[in-house]
């Protein structure tokens, strides 16, 4: 601390942080106090994950952490060292493609400004992974930690239901597409 002040703070030494992001190694240097959100955006330049509140309420920063959806604003990047992160940029199989879920968001216009959308997609992806036939109340519950100010959620619920239907059709024998 600077002499004579209780409020000051001395930046800590930067650390090299290495994690798996969207199947690739992501490495960067940051202070311990840098959140995973800021590290993804500012250091790795994966700007699809968004900052909304930085106190864990809005869900815009949701990413998959070892497969489970979490708030990246509530994890320090240094804590993610060695862990596996999926962001919106990693939802499709190949760069430039769209996943079925993403495509359904487009088809139903499940977004307007697009700001909450990446977090919403991640939450929906996690839901469909654990429950391939969610009903509307399960869908609403799964996205209830993600705030959207544009849509009123209706078309998002439609998109997730549509994606579940499509994914189920695809996985049914004889329905390979």
């Amino acid at each position: 601390m600077p002499p004579g002040s209780w409020r000051g703070t001395v930046p800590m030494a930067d650390r090299t942080i290495r994690l798996r992001v969207n199947g690739k190694t992501g490495e960067g240097v940051a202070e311990p106090r840098v959140t995973l959100l800021d590290f993804l955006r500012d250091t790795l330049r994966l700007t699809g994950t968004h900052m909304g509140c930085e106190h864990g309420i809005c869900g815009a920063c949701t990413v998959l952490f070892d497969g489970a959806p979490v708030r990246s604003c509530l994890i320090f990047a240094v804590q993610a060292e060695g862990h596996d992160i999926t962001t919106v940029e990693g939802l499709a199989d190949a760069a430039g493609d769209l996943s079925v879920l993403q495509d359904c968001f487009w088809e139903t216009h499940a977004l307007q400004c697009g700001y909450c959308t990446p977090g919403m997609l991640i939450a929906a992806q996690a839901l469909l992974r654990r429950n391939n036939d969610p009903d509307d109340s399960e869908i609403r519950d799964a996205i209830s930690g993600n705030l959207c100010r544009c849509t009123g959620y209706g078309q998002i619920v439609e998109a997730i239901r549509l994606a579940a239907d499509r994914l189920n059709q695809r996985s049914r024998p004889g329905n390979a597409s």
């Binding site: 930046p11 202070e31 699809g48 930085e54 809005c58 940029e89 977004l111 697009g114 209706g154 078309q155």
Partner: protein
Amino acid sequence: MTSADHPYRYVGRQRRTKEDRRFIAGQGRFVADISLPDMRHVAPVASPHASARILSIDADAALALDGVHAVLTGAQLQTGIEPIQHGVPAPDIRWYPLAHEAVCYAGEWVAAVVADSRHIAEDAAELVDVRYAETPAVVDPEVAFDATDALVHPAHGSNVLFHRKFVWGAVDDDFAAADHSLSFRVKWGRNSTVPIETFGVVAQWQPGDGLLDVWASIQMPKYSDQIAESLRLAGNRIRVHQDVDVGGSYGVKRGLKHAILAGYLARELGFPIRLIEDRLDNMSGGDAHGPDRIFDMDVAFNDDGTITSMKIRALDDCGAYPGRAPLQLGKPVGSIVGPYRIGSVAYEAISVCTNKTAQVAVRGFGQAPTNFAIETAVDKVARFLDLDRIELRRRNFIRAEDFPYTIPSGTAYDSGDYHTVQQKVADLIDYQGLITRRDAIRDRGGLAGIGIASCLEPGGGNAAFEPLFNPSNDTTTWMESCTVKVDRLGDVTVLICTSSAGQGHQTLAATVVGEVLHIDPAEIRVVHSDSLSSLPGNSPVASRMAIMLGGAAQRAAEAIRDRLIAIAAHNLGSPGSALVYADKSVHVADDPSTGLDWQALVRICHRQYHLMPPGMEPGLQASHTLQVPNGGTMPAEDGRVQMYPCFSFEAHIPLIEIDRGTGKVRIHDYAIAHDCGTVISPAIVKGMLLGGIAHGIGAALYEKFEYDSAGQHLTGTFMDYLLPSAHEIPEIKMAEHCTPSPLTALGQKGAGEAGYMGSAAAIASAVNDALLPLGLEANTLPVKLGMLSEMLKDHI
């Protein structure tokens, strides 16, 4: 493809939007995504006091911190800039991005730290030592109105920013002649749209060009002009990049102070400046609160249910600085009697200053609170007369055959069929069945209520409230522009002159242009030109873009089409009247084999001047700047004015239940019928409507900026200011109706504020219907859990 039923190829069809794809791939381009070399970061130092004099600011400790470049104070800043302009005359209220001499609300910015990172900027902001002498805060707007010595801005001489009483028609006579009258008070709580993206700006001074580049999360008319004026720069020395994606706005993204501050710092310090509000900055210091209004209402009516006259007194708490906030009392003048045939009306509009965060334009610009007050009056009349609330509305609605219909305040409504839309929502939700369900819940001891709200959404925005509220302002146009150009390869690019915040303007423009030129909108590129390369525009406010951008795009595309016909006429030796444009070619009407196709026509325009009609300019491009339909006149002496041109209509019916043991509200069912004329993009209109309803449910039940008696803001985080989640918003049933506007090319009206116009009123109506059996009334929004639990504590 087209038919008598559906005359359009692309308009009104279910189609994918142009914008969504980049967002779902995580490839939006938001302001916080911009990273420039050597960019520095700003953190504001905020006042902890609602009202105080600034005695001193000591930034030495902050400046000593490694990585800190500057600490700017209000005293330094105000010498280099002009104050931010207000929408009403208040020359002695000097508003700067950083407070100077005094702070007027808790959270007001008093200094700005510039550092290598936001982290370091925040470290340094803590070290800026500001000494204050607290002064008494003005918190209650009614006290503020009467105050003579407790003033937010002593130089202004009072706390009143605007006060005028309009009387249109024989109000006193009508009240005297009426069988009954009722008086009541309702309050609309301080809430806002609170987008998930906070406001942000990046500014870069280009010394070689003498040009300030601005990237901002902006939705605001005349933004670049106002930055230029404040920074004392020529208008052509500011370039606002309007291709920045805006992460939600709904009116509030108006960061003028942010851009002035960032622009000033960029020029002074010589490196790019990034100022992205964090959530705490945003909630308390972002100057983005919404209307906060007390309505005192009197309504006169007869035994048969006819409402004959109304008196509305609206006292709005605008917060610390006026800006454009008082004008939000002006816009409702253009629909001051709602959808009803009310023959006379008095409207007393009062805007006062208090020591609270400043207010800004919020979705509907004051219309939703006014609709809530009017709908409450209608409900109360029905209750008084023991008439069904829908029936009472039917008796008072303007009839379909009465349009265009001029209301007492001078605005003509373009078209509508309120009876049919009301019937559609009643049918959709099975109104009689709903009453049965409500009564069944009541029979088992529950508190159930049906809400009714039937509200207008004025659209098209002509800013007539500016001259109405400010005698020195003679603005009578609020134009919007569009350019269509066809390149040498024959591909079409459309230039629009504003940024977008999710309203789908690229889809809108491409759909309209594609419709005219018979080109798949998916193949049309739409570009947001920067403010220097833009033609005049006034941004996507006021539910205006379908009308204004849609109209401008259509005219520009028609000009292209007409040119192609003229070129074909010249080359085919036929009169233009004998030719038709179809499927990207022009051919002789009765001989489709004789004509010129698209590539041939484009080739003529771009290469073969010798084949063009004499005098026609080469290339293939057209622009149109559209004047607002029905606009262009100044208000009359008594304030009568044509406010907006087009009037959309929506009828809501929710069924709610209040848990009598806890006060918790559940929305069981919700239906809406909606008429915005011709729908251009159904998915977009649907989204607007659903989002607007959700926003209104927030305003009715959850969202409020709360202050304590000392002016401390108590809801500065998302833990205290409650945005509804997918749990709180029910599935919504929708019915569309189309009464085309006679004023627009396709019959379209506005939809950007749809849903929000009536959902808060509808929920309030339902809450009061539910409380009726207990003899209780909730007249203040939001009706929060705490309020209901308190009311119900003796009614277990």
